[in-house]
Every structure is written in C-alpha cells, then in structure tokens.
C-alpha cells in the first residue's frame, strides 16, 4: 500500500504516542472524570489506524500482528465475562463487590476501573480488527 507524504508521516508519528497516552488516561481515570472504556478504546484504535494509514500497511503489519489483535479482543471479552461471573461469589451477577474507597481517588469505585480497562482493550482491538479485515480486502483486489 502507498505511504503518505513525509510531512503527514512525521506529524502522525509525533502525535500517535500522545494519542495512546490520552486514550490510556481516559480509560484509567474513567471513573473519576469524563471518559471511560469506550471512548478511550476508540482513541487507542485510532492511533494504530492512523499509523497504519500513514506508514503503509505492509511495513507495520509485522509490528501489530493480526493474531495479537485477535487475542487481545477475545481475551478482553473473556475477561469481562470472568469479572461478571466472579461477582456471583459475592452476590448477584455483576455485583460490585469491591465498592467503597474515597470518592475522587484512583483506587475507588471497586470493579469499575478494571471493567473500564477491559472494555477499553476490547473496543480498541475490535476497531483495529475491522480495519485489518477491510484493508486486507483492498490488498487482495
């Protein structure tokens, strides 16, 4: 696949790490400030997709392997189910058994934070996978 111009490539290479950091921030602090798993996950996926569009899919497909992306997606989905079923030990399905903590601190809100992290990984991997499938079709044509 084609690569984009030097200006675009350099800019995106500079911006991508910040996008990853911002996405991670949105996910991890999802229970304290606006944001959350979905939003952060989309930004994570976006940073990967941007890199791939700018640098060319052929060069980057060894860095972000499709098997890895698939693994993250399925693993995160399984993790969400595990988290949900682990609540059965303490009460009902999806009961937040770690509730409490001082509101406003990072370690508060119980299972909200791990749940957000798993959702973020899942959404990020999902959108990247969609991009993979689409771009491979273009490759074959």
């Amino acid at each position: 696949m084609m690569r984009m111009s030097t200006v675009t490539r350099t800019t995106i290479r500079m911006v991508s790490p910040f996008l990853v950091a911002y996405g991670a921030y949105l996910i991890v602090y999802g229970h304290l400030s606006p944001g959350g798993g979905f939003q952060g996950g989309v930004i994570l996926a976006l940073s990967v997709i941007l890199m791939m569009i700018a640098q060319g899919y052929q060069d980057l497909k060894t860095t972000f392997r499709e098997k890895l992306v698939k693994g993250i997606e399925s693993g995160a989905a399984l993790g969400i189910l595990l988290l949900a079923f682990s609540s059965l030990l303490f009460g009902t399905f999806f009961f937040n058994y770690l509730r409490g903590g001082t509101p406003g601190e990072l370690f508060s809100g119980g299972i909200i934070a791990p749940f957000n992290v798993l959702i973020g990984f899942k959404i990020g991997a999902s959108f990247t996978l969609v991009f993979y499938v689409l771009i491979r079709r273009m490759d074959l044509d």
Binding site: H31, G109, I119
Partner: protein
Amino acid sequence: MGSLLIPLNYSREGKGYRFSIDEDLSENFNESVEETEIDEDIRKAFEEENVTLDEEAEIVEIEEGVWEIDDDESERYRIEKDEEDDELKVYGYQSYEYYIENWEDVGARNLVASVLADWRAYDTMGEAIVLITAILGFYIILKGGEDDEDVYGD
C-alpha cells in the same frame, strides 16, 4: 416485570425509599388487594406526598407485608413494611432517583461511570457482546486467507 427496573441491590441496602406512610394503613392495603381497587385512605396518604394515583391503578401483593402498585403513567411503587421503624416505606420504581440518592455507595466520583459500569454493567457487557458479534460476522464474511485467493468467488 418490574423487577428488571430495580438496581441489583435495591432492597438489600434498605435505603432509597421515597416516603413513608403510617403503618395502620397496612390493613387497607390487604383490603385493597382483595377488592382489586385502591382504598381511599391510601390515595389520600399518597396525595399528601404529592403523588396522585391513577383511577385505574392496580395493586398486587407480592408477599406478606410487600405490595406493589402499578400506576397507569408507567410508574410503579413498592410498599414494604419496615419492622424497625413501624412504618410502611414506599419505594419508587423509577430508578434515576435511586441512582442520585445512592451515588456515594459506589465510591466513584463520576455518576455516569457508576451507572454504566456498576448498576448497569450488565447493559455495557451487552453492548460489548453486540460489538463482538458484529466483528465476528464482519470477519467471517470478509476474511480472505493469504493462502486462498479464491475467496471472492473468481
């Protein structure tokens, strides 16, 4: 039916009731259930709290000391006998109030996150499963292995 509307730990916490009424009315509740019509005294007690029950509101007994009133305006009330305080507590089935009143239970500062990932985590998981199904379908239809180039039907 209505139980789907209640947050999971609704009655476990024993908080979040809207108002309480006199315990003497529990006789009236039992009579109302038999006559399938809501007693005037109950209507009055509700009106004192600015709640007007519809003419065709229905009342059911769930178990001893617990009744449910199905108002026509898609509101439901659950009335529970409280042994400690000797009064009847009326719980609203409209869950938004519950969320706001019990915000601090979760310990997170973000109400949206509390709703999405605690009380309604079940829904969020559903959304994630919708997404995984979509991806799966997408993948099955569009996937082309590197070794079979014939996949697009040439």
